[in-house]
């Protein structure tokens, strides 16, 4: 009898251990990049802590090699694999076909399969918040945006930023410079310098290093963290930023796999687009600091007139919007919105759907600069 119980315990323990999947991550950059990959790795660590699953990760994987690295992760026993770059799409789909029992998550992608879901911690709401702050802080009314590629994701972020800036400062314009690269510190540096020379005095960016923050800080101009906290790079000038918490998505999905909600057959329609409401993407110079105290007074002093909220300081407006978006009660992309060619994109009161935002191509009417594929 005793033996039987011992055996049962053993079997249960084994089954329980089996239930805990091994989770693999494929990163496009080094984990210490202070940007994109770092943010994903924080998410991985959170997943490990909260669910106690074993994780594996591989850094700096060239896009073309993703398949062979998936092979190796599977060899190492991974049964859930997250590929964290758009460029991994083809390789992920191909590998998913070869490993029908393994579950895949492809970040920022759109191609899916029965065992491949897509996910993104979507930041446009934070960009909108940052637009409010930058618009209020700028004295020249010229905001600089150093952007990676003219793709819908980045365009949506530029527009959200521009809409926020305009809300508190009708004269604010957003000057865009393209790097055509996710990682180009030298380009980011010179683009920032060029914008400074042209009179911009607040800076936001889509690039994988804190270069823009460092460059703007030399002149004392405010800038914004990107992906993860870059507060340490300039505690006196990082006003806020867009922070992602990929851990929320990783935990939710892996939990779903462990309790059987998600299987290798039902991921075809699963697309996480998580925002403020889910806590996947929030505004802040660093976690817990939505507005850098350095700029608190300036933002409290700047008053605007909101049609609904009445006379309100920008500081209070920012806090209010954060509250509203966390509760899912406010959308930055709410009409009336006219693009810079004069087309009415959204009529009074009309709210953009997620689908529309994911394929956004138009430029807000206070955006200046080259704009590929403008409708």
């Amino acid at each position: 009898m005793k033996k039987l119980i011992a055996l049962m315990v053993l079997v249960l323990a084994l089954a329980w251990a089996q239930d805990k999947p091994k989770v693999g991550f494929i990163y496009v950059g080094p984990v210490g990049d202070a940007g994109w990959t770092y943010a994903h790795d924080l998410g991985r660590q959170k997943l490990e802590q909260e669910l106690g699953v074993e994780t594996l990760y591989i850094e700096s994987v060239p896009e073309a090699d993703v398949e062979s690295f998936i092979d190796q992760l599977v060899d190492e026993g991974a049964s859930i694999i997250f590929t964290t770059s758009f460029g991994y799409g083809d390789g992920t789909i191909a590998a998913a076909e070869r490993y029908p029992d393994v579950l895949f998550g492809h970040a920022t992608g759109y191609m899916r399969a029965p065992n491949v879901m897509t996910y993104i911690a979507e930041m446009y709401q934070s960009y909108y918040i940052n637009g409010l702050i930058a618009g209020a802080l700028s004295e020249s009314n010229k905001l600089g945006y150093i952007a990676a590629f003219p793709i819908p994701e980045v365009k949506r972020h530029i527009d959200a930023f521009a809409i926020g800036a305009k809300e508190v400062n009708p004269d604010a314009i957003v000057e865009v410079r393209w790097l055509f690269n996710w990682f180009d510190p030298a380009g980011a540096k010179e683009a920032t310098e060029a914008l400074i020379a042209e009179g911009a005095d607040a800076f936001i960016f889509t690039e994988d290093t804190p270069t823009v923050i460092q460059t703007a800080a030399e002149k004392g101009y405010p800038s914004f963290s990107h992906y993860a906290s870059m507060y340490d790079f300039s505690p006196d000038t990082v006003a806020s930023g867009q922070l992602t918490d990929w851990g929320t998505i990783y935990i939710d999905f892996v939990k779903g796999v462990m309790d059987g909600t998600y299987t290798n057959e039902n991921l075809e329609d699963l697309d996480y687009i998580w925002r403020y409401t889910e806590g996947a993407s929030i505004a802040g110079a660093k976690p817990g600091m939505p507005i850098n105290p350095v700029y608190e007074d300036a933002l409290k002093a700047k008053m605007v007139n909101d049609p609904v909220l009445g006379e309100i300081s920008v500081y209070d407006l920012v806090m209010k919007r954060i509250e509203q978006m966390t509760a899912g009660e406010f959308e930055p992309f709410t009409g009336p919105i006219v693009d810079r060619k004069g087309n009415v994109v959204y009529a009074e009161g009309e709210v953009a759907t997620l689908g529309e935002l994911m394929g956004l191509e138009w430029a807000a009417d206070n955006v200046v600069g080259d704009w590929d594929n403008e409708p």
Binding site: E63, A64, D71, Q72, E76, I151, F180, E361
Partner: protein, 369 residues
């Protein structure tokens, strides 16, 4: 100058087996040093090597991964052997690879061809495009004496920006959600793979044939003889009536064309689209320089040297996953490997002989300044 009764004696040209043995020893030394790096990372070097070997050489899938990196290195490397034999220092293979890749993409995206012609047309276009990219530096060198190291290096950057411009501008795909890459190639422009791997056989076959061709060219054909003469003794070549212009241009067309073929293999076999140039070629054009130099001018030797460097590439990947070693290890090992191999150079140029009174005197008399 003797030490413990031995001295170094210069020799003109070491026999092949000596070069092979010494090179082999150099590789071993590099691997032993790497073993100490493993220890520094808290790994048992023997089991670490066992893992690497098991995952790169003893499994077909692992080995196909080695070959995947070897093929572009082989094609490009053997092309460079040809150029280096003529003392044409082609540093521009990276650009020539990209030129081939871009040409193949152009064919795949814009040429309505019957399916069976798609792949041959791509290889032809890639060969020509690579060759054209090497043509200008060749012309400038022979006609005007412009240093080819610099022009070929410049051409790399120019092609890199051309490809970037293509994928951000005119060739940007319609179905790529705004990302900077071309549309996917149609199936008839995608190279067939060995089953269960990502390795395509047409490029592998072409690479092997090309190696044989260059071998025969250098060993047996008139053009090969002229190329060798041009490299080894330009004055003699002048007297012999070698036309430097045509010979140089022909050899560069072959050399750069080979790199172009490698580029075709990368886009049509792996990526199936034109994309960011640093993703198309992971520095194969530069690594191939090492492949060629290690082969010491022998086209057949590139089979070994390309395989060696392909193995280092693939081993780096295995180390990253299975041994949890940092990404930078393969660079360090590559560098060590190279330094060890060139470190044995004096041993190739000299041999150690036991001091023999009479002989010593003779030698010193003949080599006096």
């Amino acid at each position: 100058m003797s030490f413990l009764g031995y001295r170094l004696e210069p020799r003109a040209k070491p026999p092949g087996y000596v070069v092979f043995l010494y090179s082999f020893a150099a590789v071993l030394i590099a691997l032993i040093i790497t073993g100490f790096i493993f220890i520094a990372f808290g790994l048992n070097p023997f089991s670490a090597y066992a893992t690497v070997i098991q995952k790169t050489l003893l499994s077909w899938r692992g080995f196909s991964q080695v070959l995947l990196k070897t093929v572009p290195l082989l094609l490009t490397g053997v092309g460079l052997v040809l150029a280096f034999r003529a003392q044409f220092w082609n540093i521009g293979a990276e650009g020539q690879i990209l030129a081939g890749a871009a040409a193949a993409a152009g064919v795949a995206l814009f040429m309505p061809l019957p399916p069976f012609l798609g792949i041959p047309a791509m290889f032809l276009a890639g060969f020509i495009a690579g060759g054209i990219w090497g043509f200008l530096p060749a012309l400038l060198k022979v006609r005007l004496g412009v240093n080819e190291i610099i022009t070929t290096l410049m051409m790399n950057y120019i092609m890199l920006y051309i490809v970037r411009w293509l994928i951000n501008g005119p060739w940007k795909g319609k179905n790529v959600r705004g990302f900077s890459e071309s549309d996917k190639f149609d199936a008839s422009f995608v190279l067939p793979l060995f089953k269960g791997t990502r390795l395509n056989w047409p490029t592998l076959l072409i690479a092997l044939l090309f190696v044989l061709f260059i071998f025969f060219l250098l060993a047996r054909m008139k053009l090969g003889f002229e190329i060798r003469m041009m490299g080894e003794s330009p004055e003699a070549a002048h007297y012999a009536g070698v036309n430097f212009l045509t010979t140089t241009i022909l050899l560069v067309l072959l050399s750069a064309g080979a790199a172009g073929l490698a580029g075709v293999g990368e886009v049509a076999g792996i990526h199936k689209k034109l994309l960011e140039p640093t993703s198309i070629s992971q520095g194969f054009g530069y690594t191939a320089i090492i492949v060629a130099l290690l082969a010491r001018g022998n086209p057949l030797a590139t089979l070994a040297t390309a395989l060696l460097l392909g193995w280092v590439f693939a081993s780096g990947d295995v180390m990253k996953v299975s041994l949890r070693l940092p990404d930078q290890m393969s660079g360090v090992i590559n560098g060590l490997l190279l330094l060890c191999i060139i470190g044995i150079e004096p041993l190739l140029r000299y041999r150690i002989v036991r001091v023999n009174g009479a002989k010593l005197g003779e030698r010193e008399a003949s080599s006096g300044t």
